[in-house]
């Protein structure tokens, strides 16, 4: 990738990551991310066409257990840790929001 990361890219990524960054933070983050991605140039130079990606140290296999009821987390204990709960459920403000 020879394209440099721009402030507009960073602003878009911040939105995807649900982080509200100030213009100053976006400027600083752009420079820092650009600096980090620069180090990627040496990897970019490798010929990786025939290399299979490795996502895990070991191949993942499907794991089954006996279909027997097991104790789960205690609902009251879980809800006690929530910022807001009501009637045995998590309470949140109105969902959605204006897409910015």
């Amino acid at each position: 990738m020879s394209d440099r990361i721009t402030a507009a890219d960073v602003a878009k990524v911040a939105r995807l990551a649900r982080l509200d960054l100030s213009p100053q933070e976006i400027e600083r983050m752009t420079a820092q991310l650009d600096g980090m991605l620069e180090h990627f140039a040496d990897v970019d130079a490798l010929d990786l066409a025939d290399v299979a990606p490795m996502t895990q140290p070991f191949p993942l296999v499907n794991v089954f257990r006996a279909d027997v009821v097991q104790p789960g987390l205690d609902r009251d204990e879980v809800l006690a840790a929530a910022p807001a709960a009501q009637d045995g459920r998590f309470r949140v403000p109105p969902t959605g929001g204006v897409e910015g």
């Binding site: 990738m1 990361i5 890219d9 960073v10 878009k12 990524v13 911040a14 995807l16 990551a17 649900r18 982080l19 509200d20 960054l21 983050m29 820092q32 991310l33 600096g35 980090m36 991605l37 180090h39 990627f40 040496d42 990897v43 970019d44 490798l46 990786l48 290399v51 299979a52 990606p53 490795m54 996502t55 895990q56 140290p57 070991f58 993942l60 794991v63 257990r65 987390l73 205690d74 204990e77 879980v78 006690a80 840790a81 929530a82 910022p83 807001a84 998590f90 949140v92 403000p93 109105p94 969902t95 959605g96 929001g97 204006v98």
Partner: protein
């Protein structure tokens, strides 16, 4: 530096099991040491004095009744504060989890306690285990017990400092790119990152799930082996834990190193300070004198580890940390709708380094960049793994420095994130490969500060790795 008690965990447990030593007395001794020195070290986010005393009373009662309190009876342990403890705050040293009390225990917490160990506290870390100095903790840094003007390393700096300062016999950390081994080296204690899947990660707050692994800090190789013998093994709650029993490591360390092939990586990235390099050279000589053969091997992709890691780990972190949204637990910053609440909560709750990695990871995974960055990094990961596998056909273990330098001063890495990342040059490739590695204290370097030597081995070759570590340790006595 007063690291007391060069008494092994096994001998302590034996005395407590026999009733000749009281767990209650051991706990009081450690709480007194903590009271004396914790104000200047800040190893802990939380000291669990009452809980430790209660557990000690249970252990002593079991022993008095003639029951066996377990192989770690009365042995004190500190837990990195990213391991869930039921009803006890677990913060990851982040404002976003401040005050959160998990509704369950991590598997390692249950296995340690079932073995008679006594948890004395939750230790400080770089926020969400992202860092190499604990300077990224939202609750202030931990100081190195050998020199409080210097960092203890990170991210498990609190756990390393706790053992080095004599606050606990043992501690647990987590290692995603070197977060056990590097602080172990900087604090002069043993630190082990086992094979991926050796220890259950259930209840370990996730950073990068394909790299994270729990392991011990200890004052001796034998103690570290004992802890892994207790906490290793399959856990139905962690589908990535290896579904087979592990051979005893305590048994393995009794063997010497005669006939073992110890590999020197001829194309290892440069960057180790001369004092660190000198200790590594001596480690090779020591093992040769003990009967091992030194062989030169190449691991060409080793030098690409740092770059691949800093795309893969942030990518996984950006996904894992999406759960901190203010809905179910932790911080919530109230807002008019959920979408605004997510942003406000995450912006207020995460520190700079965590934000930086979430941003980098989100970018690497985003449409148009996925193949170019994340996809390529995964291919480099394969190269690193395969290069190591080839090296392990020629050598039983490899030896490298753990950290390029001894403990550095606070603020020494400045505002350049990459300068800090270079601390993990020698530890990161192991995590990418999924292999085990450990740091063993091996004398001192500049200004009398501890130097660690890293022993690396192939998948599930912990017994051989521990044999070599024990031989290095023996030579220092």
């Amino acid at each position: 530096m007063a690291a007391p008690a060069m008494v092994t965990a096994a001998s302590i447990a034996a005395a407590v099991r026999a009733g000749t030593t009281k767990a209650a007395d051991l706990v009081e001794q450690h709480l007194a040491t903590i009271a004396a020195r914790e104000p200047e070290i800040h190893a802990f986010n939380l000291v669990l004095a009452d809980e430790a005393r209660a557990q000690a009373a249970r252990i002593d009662a079991l022993a008095a009744e003639g029951n066996d309190p377990g192989p770690l009876a009365g042995v004190t342990v500190a837990l990195k504060d990213n391991m869930c403890t039921r009803g006890i705050p677990t913060t990851c040293s982040s404002k976003i989890l401040a005050g959160w009390k998990p509704p369950y225990d991590a598997t390692v917490v249950r296995t340690l306690q079932a073995a008679g160990a006594i948890v004395v506290g939750k230790t400080n870390l770089d926020e969400f285990a992202m860092g190499s100095s604990t300077e990224n903790s939202a609750f202030g840094p931990t100081r190195n017990p050998h020199d409080i003007s210097r960092v203890p390393g990170g991210s498990s700096g609190g756990s390393a400092a706790a053992v080095a300062a004599g606050f606990s016999h043992l501690s647990l950390g987590s290692d995603t790119g070197g977060s056990i081994r590097q602080p172990a080296a900087l604090c002069g204690v043993v630190g082990v990152k086992p094979t991926y899947g050796y220890v259950s990660r259930y209840g370990l707050v996730a950073f990068a799930s394909s790299l994270d692994q729990i392991g011990p800090f200890a004052n001796s190789v034998e103690d570290a082996a004992l802890v892994l013998d207790v906490i290793g093994g399959h856990d139905p709650h962690d589908s990535t834990s290896i579904p087979q029993p592990h051979p005893s490591l305590v048994g393995a360390i009794q063997q010497g190193v005669e006939g073992l092939r110890v590999g020197r990586i001829s194309d290892l990235p440069a960057g180790a300070d001369p004092d660190v390099q000198a200790r590594l050279d001596l480690a090779f000589e020591t093992l040769q004198a003990a009967g091992a053969t030194i062989v030169d091997v190449e691991v060409p992709a080793f030098s690409f580890g740092l770059t691949a890691y800093y795309l893969i780990a942030p990518a996984e972190a950006s996904s894992n940390l999406a759960r901190y949204d203010g809905v179910r637990y932790g911080l919530r910053v109230e807002a008019a709708d959920t979408d605004s609440m997510y942003g406000a909560t995450r912006t207020a709750g995460f520190g700079d380094e965590v934000k930086r990695r979430i941003m980098l990871g989100t970018y690497a995974l985003s449409a148009g960049y996925y193949d170019a960055y994340y996809g390529k990094a995964l291919k480099v990961r394969r190269l690193i793994h395969d290069d190591f596998e080839r090296a392990y056909q020629q050598a039983d273990v490899l030896l490298t420095p753990t950290s390029p330098s001894v403990a550095f001063k606070f603020g020494a890495k400045g505002d350049n994130p990459f300068a800090m990342y270079l601390c993990d040059t020698y530890t990161i490739p192991t995590n990418l490969a999924g292999h085990p590695a450990m740091s063993v204290p091996f004398g001192t370097g500049t200004e009398g500060l501890p130097v660690g030597v890293q022993v690396l081995a192939g998948t599930l070759q912990e017994p051989t790795m521990f044999r070599v570590a024990a031989a290095l340790e023996r030579s220092m006595k």
